[in-house]
């Protein structure tokens, strides 16, 4: 199921933020993080999962770029989803 087809708003927001960094690779990246580290499907993502998802996503993005600022900015945007500040 693509993020557009999903009725999970949080998942869609996570993908939207990730797209700023990973473009078309974002839905696959997010699905991998959720499946692999949270052990659930993207459809089942809830706000309580966010801290763990942010940590793992931050760590994984850190493997893809050496630009710490980009990684911090990405993690910050994801974390703010949980605070309802987006």
């Amino acid at each position: 199921m693509t993020p557009e087809e999903s009725n999970n708003e949080l998942y869609r927001q996570v993908v939207l933020i990730t797209e700023e960094y990973l473009g078309p690779a974002a839905p696959r990246f997010v699905a991998r993080q959720i499946n692999f580290h949270l052990g659930k499907s993207p459809q089942e993502l809830v706000t309580d999962d966010l801290p763990k998802l942010v940590e793992w996503s931050k760590l994984t993005l850190g493997l893809l770029t050496e630009d710490r600022q980009v990684v911090a900015q990405f993690a910050d945007k994801l974390a703010r989803l949980g605070e309802g500040q987006l």
């Binding site: 700023e20 960094y21 473009g23 078309p24 690779a25 994984t60």
Partner: protein, 295 residues
């Protein structure tokens, strides 16, 4: 696949090094110098073939990883186009090196036709696939091929293509080069079966290069764009290198007048550009692949 390419290169190298071709006589070289000259060509060619294969396979591998993704079909078509370009490079070298062995055989007529007409068709397929793939990228990002800059470049290309066709149709060429016929068909037939496919291929290659550059500039994703930049740069270099190479092949009479040093310089420059292009594609595809597998 790598072993198939190495086996084909061994055939190509043997054909080239043992060639009864009169290249050496043309430049008044001793037989050992002719051997050295052939060696100075076949070795870089092997490097370029291997780099090209690795680049095309790396991109095909990436296209395989993203199966099901919104850009997967486009990337797969581009990967197929790159693989056809590898086939093009190999067929061109092999067909060209078989000819001297049949210089005095009746088979030379159809072998020359094969050499003249098969590579343009393979190239047309390759650039056609690149274009189709690049065009489908518009489903991922909205961009238009026809901006003012690309339109002016196309006008310049059409003027060049018309002059090129006119020159080909009207200029006398020597019957043969080093004892091998250059063409065995009439000029109008060659215009349709050789020049037209080349021009269509260049046209589509140019459009593919525009589309891929525009996609790489406009697609979302900071890290994705960085990885894609190498692929885009590589494809532009490959398209440019092959188009220049083909112009030189068709205008072989101009090359015949060059000194040996200048000829080698042109050849090395093109091999370097093509090799660099495929290497950029490979490193870009590896970076893109990394985005897909890191957990």
């Amino acid at each position: 696949m790598q072993w198939v390419v190495i086996a084909l290169w061994l055939i190509y190298a043997t054909l080239s090094l043992l060639s009864p071709n009169a290249t050496g006589n043309h430049y008044h070289l001793a037989s050992w110098q002719t051997f050295g000259l052939h060696l100075a060509i076949v070795l870089p060619v092997l490097v370029v073939w291997l780099v090209a294969l690795r680049g095309a396979l790396a991109f095909k591998h990436y296209a395989g990883i993203i199966t099901g993704g919104v850009e997967a079909r486009s990337m797969n078509l581009i990967a197929m186009g790159l693989l056809w370009l590898v086939a093009y490079l190999i067929s061109l070298s092999l067909l060209g090196n078989i000819l001297p062995y049949f210089a005095h055989s009746p088979a030379i007529t159809w072998l020359v036709s094969l050499r003249n007409q098969v590579p343009p068709l393979i190239n047309l397929i390759a650039f056609g696939l690149l274009y189709l793939g690049s065009h489908r990228l518009q489903r991922v990002v909205t961009f238009t091929t026809w901006t003012r800059g690309s339109s002016w470049l196309m006008v310049a290309f059409l003027i060049f293509a018309s002059l090129f066709a006119l020159e080909f149709a009207t200029t006398d060429v020597p019957n043969n080069l080093n004892g091998i016929p250059i063409y065995t068909m009439s000029r109008p037939v060659l215009l349709v079966t050789m020049i037209l496919p080349y021009m269509l291929a260049w046209f589509m290659g140019l459009l593919a290069a525009f589309n891929i550059l525009k996609y790489a500039r406009q697609v979302k994703g900071l890290l994705y764009r960085q990885a894609l930049r190498g692929v885009a740069r590589g494809i532009v270099a490959i398209v440019g290198c092959i188009a220049i190479f083909e112009v030189l092949i068709v205008a072989v009479r101009f090359l015949a007048g060059l000194s040996l040093g200048s000829l080698l310089l042109v050849m090395y420059a093109l091999l370097l550009l093509g090799g660099l292009g495929f290497w950029w594609v490979q490193t870009g595809a590896q970076q893109l692949g990394k985005l897909e597998v890191t957990e």
